[in-house]
């Protein structure tokens, strides 16, 4: 059977196998990218991500450009796979003259991908944390507390940016030191500010569990004598002659309790 040399079969024969393989890889990459993108979007939607991040600044900005965070993340994974496919295809096709450049990019690409994802997740989580804190504080109408929500947001974003920068290989030592100092300051400040509260709560747990005195008992605590009206985690309320003493629980514990029985 002698084949008739048509122009098409000639063309097919002229192209090296290597190139066909490259083309196949590219095609496969495109299909995989599309499938992964769709699956990702469905998974994220199914996991309830859109409802959770509803109202965050990032999502709102995304909406303005007629897209959404979930769609951006799905697209990102698609682009990543396409880029990998292109690089593999180029390698297979043996495009020599760019080898140096492409091998560098191939190594760098996954890190860039992780960095971008971390950054997006960080910004979204930061936005959400800001919203939650702001919601919590809305009942307390104090203008000074207005600095708290952005502080929480930028802390989260800062950490995310730090991880992202670390991924792409930027020197972050100075920034990490800054973060450490900041965390230490927050912990120190919180410990100082809540020292008495924590001590009171610890004593309050004991008082609530063992109940050395109950509502209605006459006691003398921290120099105040009267009838116990209320015991909660932080304070004990003692009333005598129309005066109600609010005694912090840690002083109850430190000074002891006198139960008065007639």
């Amino acid at each position: 059977m002698s084949a008739v040399p048509t122009p098409l079969s000639e063309f097919v024969a002229a192209v090296p196998d290597r190139l066909w393989l490259a083309l196949f890889v590219l095609l496969f990459g495109l299909v995989a990218a599309y499938v992964v993108g769709v699956i990702n979007r469905r998974l994220l939607t199914r996991a309830g991500v859109p409802e959770v991040i509803e109202g965050t600044a990032f999502e709102r900005t995304a909406r303005e450009f007629d897209t959404s965070t979930v769609r951006i993340l799905a697209k990102l994974s698609s682009y990543f796979i396409i880029a990998v496919a292109v690089i593999v295809a180029l390698t297979v096709a043996d495009v020599n003259y760019l080898e140096q450049f492409w091998s560098g990019v191939a190594a760098f690409l996954p890190r860039l991908f992780v960095a971008v994802v971390v950054l997006i997740v960080g910004v979204v989580v930061g936005d959400k944390a800001e919203l939650l804190v702001a919601e919590r504080l809305r009942g307390i109408k104090l203008p000074e507390l207005g600095v708290l929500p952005p502080l929480v947001k930028y802390s989260v974003v800062y950490v995310a940016a730090l991880i992202a920068l670390g991924q792409v290989g930027v020197q972050t030592l100075a920034l990490v030191v800054l973060l450490g100092a900041y965390a230490l300051a927050v912990v120190l400040f919180a410990a100082l500010a809540t020292k008495d509260l924590v001590a009171s709560a610890a004593a309050g747990v004991f008082l609530l569990l063992r109940q050395p005195y109950v509502i209605g008992d006459e006691v003398r605590v921290a120099g105040e004598r009267g009838i116990v009206q209320e015991v909660d985690l932080f304070v004990t309320r003692i009333e005598a002659d129309g005066e109600e003493h609010v005694v912090p629980n840690h002083s109850v514990f430190r000074d002891g309790i006198v139960l008065i029985r007639e």
């Binding site: 609530l208 109940q211 109950v214 509502i215 209605g216 006459e218 009838i227 116990v228 009206q229 209320e230 909660d232 309320r237 009333e239």
Partner: protein, 269 residues
């Protein structure tokens, strides 16, 4: 049609203030640029109104709801005696469907507002106890009507003016009214006579308490029994509020300073 519109404009003419009950925000926004003072009366300040009276119970009885709103407005010195007030409320389920004109005078002062806002116990605690009593009144215990007496607030003094009838089932426990598990427990414990004592913050201090207040000078409607009498008397001796579910007629009554303040039929809720 003209006479109907005339009647409506007569109704709202020269009103000193408008009380809007539980408005939607779009409905409230329509009042923004009016000249008359607008007072929003609702369970929560959803519409960010400047002038707001909190409604602790969603009074089904419109009269009670309006009385509460007016008393709240009087207390905040938004309206005063002799003012003409127009109330916009919802009588049937759904949106605001009624316009009611009321003249503010002292007879409106029934103490309902006082009961919730100026009691020693927190308003939410009183509301929760009310809800428990109402539910108990609706369902009873195993289908039979049941009576109950709750003394809310000033628990220390109440405990000193009473003695236990039996072991206190709430000893060393930290249950608060309003916790969902409590309703069943209270139902069970209401089988035995005696009062429940609830603290200012809603902790159930004791059950099965026999109250021993001095009963002289307590003036409550004749025909109410021993439970109501002791419930009313304890509120005279202490700063507490008592909420009583009657076994015979099934009504929930609240007493404060020895006087009957509020009467609710659980079946209407």
């Amino acid at each position: 049609m003209a006479s109907l519109t005339d009647h409506l404009s007569d109704l709202v003419e020269d009103a000193d203030a408008v009380l809007v009950f539980s408005p939607t925000s779009s409905f409230h926004d329509r009042f923004e640029d009016g000249d008359t003072e607008v007072v929003v009366v609702a369970p929560d300040n959803d519409v960010d109104a400047e002038v707001f009276v909190e409604l602790p119970l969603p009074f089904d009885n419109v009269k009670d709801r309006i009385r509460f709103g007016i008393e709240g407005a009087m207390d905040a010195e938004l309206v005063s005696e002799g003012d003409e007030v127009v109330c916009i409320a919802s009588v049937f389920d759904g949106g605001s469907d009624a316009v009611i004109r009321v003249t503010v005078d002292e007879t409106v002062h029934t103490g309902i507002y006082d009961l919730f806002v100026n009691s020693r116990a927190e308003p939410s605690v009183i509301r929760d106890v009310f809800e428990v009593a109402i539910e108990l009144g609706q369902k009873g215990q195993k289908g039979k009507p049941v009576g109950a007496l709750f003394v809310v607030g000033d628990a220390g003094k109440v405990m000193n003016k009473s003695r236990p009838l039996s072991y206190n089932p709430f000893e060393k426990s930290h249950v608060h009214v309003g916790d969902p598990i409590v309703n069943v427990m209270l139902k069970e414990f209401s089988r035995l006579d005696g009062a429940f004592v609830v603290s200012d913050s809603g902790k159930i201090v004791s059950a099965y308490r026999y109250l021993e207040p001095g009963a002289e000078g307590v003036d409550i409607p004749k025909g109410l029994g021993a439970r109501h009498m002791s419930g009313a008397a304890i509120t005279r001796d202490t700063n507490s509020t008592s909420i009583v579910l009657s076994e015979s007629d099934g009504l929930v009554r609240a007493f404060k300073a020895g006087e009957l303040v509020l009467e609710i039929d659980p079946e209407e809720y």
